[in-house]
């Protein structure tokens, strides 16, 4: 190549028009090739999503009957349903949300309103962000160690592990949303004589409400499909039980148990459960995104 390289892949135009033409064509070709590869990468991502959704519908829709929602889990071949896992999942996710959301919102409030640049605040923000991506199975082991070990598996332990997973998600969105609120709004409230906590609760929370709600929805969507932490906390239960101190069934655990079984009707039920949970989770995600969109 007669062209001088400037560095970083850019080349100076050559004096010879033929070389310049060749070079230009080379650069155009490289550009086209990379563009094509990038489009291909995006198509791969979309194909994977489509393949997952298609597989879920193809294998799940055939087993979707009313009995899935009205009958409990049964031994293989007894035409069982998923009633107790569905109810168990709703209870554990619900209680997890009731525990995790207020804590998460308070931590987010602390980070945004009280500790913008304090050492403790930065430490809390850092740890919360790390916990956001920490392996969920270890949250399960942790709850097992401090709560289950000695007392036995229980629904409330499952709910607690889900709450621990939810907290960092709610923290992140709450802090982000509160930070978007103009300081002038807070100052206006305080200037009218409102105490700081009233300014936060009545002004800031109200202004950031849909953002915080989005965070809570995303957190619910995230924990609704969690399997690993429940293995060590609520264990699963083939009988009807809504007693929080006893082992409790849940949809992901039922799917895990049934998907690996040799019985055809159990595998079928696993696909139905998988379809329900995936479309439920994706619907929550889409609702959360639509809810936040007008604000941006």
């Amino acid at each position: 190549m007669s062209a001088t390289t400037i560095g970083g892949g850019m080349t100076a135009p050559a004096r010879d028009p033929r070389v310049a033409g060749l070079l230009s064509r080379r650069r155009q070709r490289a550009n086209l090739a990379v563009k094509a590869l990038c489009i291909a990468a995006t198509v791969v991502g979309l194909v994977v999503l489509a393949s997952i959704l298609f597989t879920l519908i193809r294998l799940g829709i055939g087993g979707l009957r009313l009995s899935v929602f009205t009958r409990m889990t049964m031994p293989a071949g007894d035409n069982g349903g998923l009633l107790n896992p569905i109810v168990g999942s709703l209870i554990q996710t619900g209680i997890g949300t009731l525990i995790g959301t207020p804590i998460g919102i308070m931590v987010g409030t602390y980070l945004s309103e009280y500790a913008r640049n304090s050492v403790l605040g930065n430490a809390v923000r850092f740890v919360s962000d790390v916990l956001l991506s920490a392996p969920s199975i270890l949250i399960g082991l942790f709850i097992y160690q401090v709560f289950v070990n000695g007392r036995g598996y229980s629904g409330i332990a499952g709910a607690l592990s889900l709450a621990v997973i939810m907290i960092p998600i709610v923290v992140r969105t709450t802090e982000d949303m509160l930070r978007l609120i103009p300081t002038a709004l807070r100052e206006a409230a305080v200037a009218l004589g409102a105490p700081k906590w009233k300014a936060i609760v009545l002004i800031c929370y109200r202004a950031a409400l849909d953002g915080i709600a989005t965070g809570v929805l995303l957190a619910i969507a995230r924990v609704a499909g969690e399997t690993a932490p429940l293995l060590f906390t609520s264990l699963g239960n083939d009988n009807w039980s809504i007693d929080l101190t006893k082992p409790m069934a849940s949809l992901p655990l039922a799917i895990y148990k049934y998907a690996g079984s040799p019985a055809d009707d159990w595998v079928q039920l696993a696909w139905v459960g998988a379809m329900l949970i995936t479309f439920g989770v994706l619907a929550l995600n889409i609702i959360a995104r639509v809810a936040i969109r007008p604000r941006r």
């Binding site: 999503l49 991506s133 995600n285």
Partner: protein, 327 residues
Amino acid sequence: MSQTVIAGPIAAARSKPNSGAFGDKLFAAVAVSAGVLVLVILGAIIVSLFIGGLPSFRAFGIGFLWQSDWDPVQEIYGAAVPIFGTIVTSVLALILAVPLAFGIAFYLTELAPPTVRRIVGTAIELLAAVPSIIYGMWGFFVIVPLMATYIEPHVIDTLDGIPVLENLFAGPPFGTGLFTAALILAVMVIPFIAATMRDVFLTVPAVYKESAYGVGCTTWEVVRSVVLPYTRTSVVGGIMLGLGRALGETMAVTFVIGNTNRITANLFGSGNTIASLVALEFGESQNGSLKLSSLLALGFILFVISFIVLAISRLLLRPRAAAGAKA
């Protein structure tokens, strides 16, 4: 004269904070304790896993880390195999995921028209929302047969006779194994890496890119010479985030890795990871047994590794994000 007019409302306001002072103190106290609770949770996770693993650390010492046996009959447990499997699958997953994630981020920030960008961007983000266990089932029922019938036999035949590669891509073509696990992990971490890359690519000031276009750069040259150097730190941070996610992924891996406790150089061979071993063996462990303690010790090791990786990711992502927010 005007003093007295103003004094009225100020006096009224003065009396109000006094009535709110208790509420303020209480609210602040609750907020601070919630913040401290997060630190307590982190500390409790580390301490509880360490205490749980203590009998195992005592019994095997530091050798636990490179002991490769996992023998419940003779009560000998070592972490070498699952640590090996965890690192191999995660690193391989990143090798597969990073180019694809970069391509997606490139497409979303530079090529796609705004409407397409929003729809495709959301679709890629939804990929991150699909529960882990669904990836496991999809992997087991869709990808594993695909690997067993088409890809693995073909690859083994093609690479036969080529040194190194011949051994690397060998093993029984059952479809399950380290490579399939890495493939599923790659798909699972792509949305996280792609989303981070997209967000940091968007922080590049338009003037820089426009200057490069102005001197005649192609899109690829702009991304390679302007966007990537500008965002290098955050891109690495995003990749580390993906690594942190891949290390602890449990359910998806459990379905497809084959779950045998051996170290193999064959990527199509089966293996296990820390998370998959804990998930599978936990139910068979007696309360207070050495096995349970070894599983908790494995959990402790996994937590330390993930914490370091995620902490590095945070540190790399922080400064540039702050600079981007200012710009």
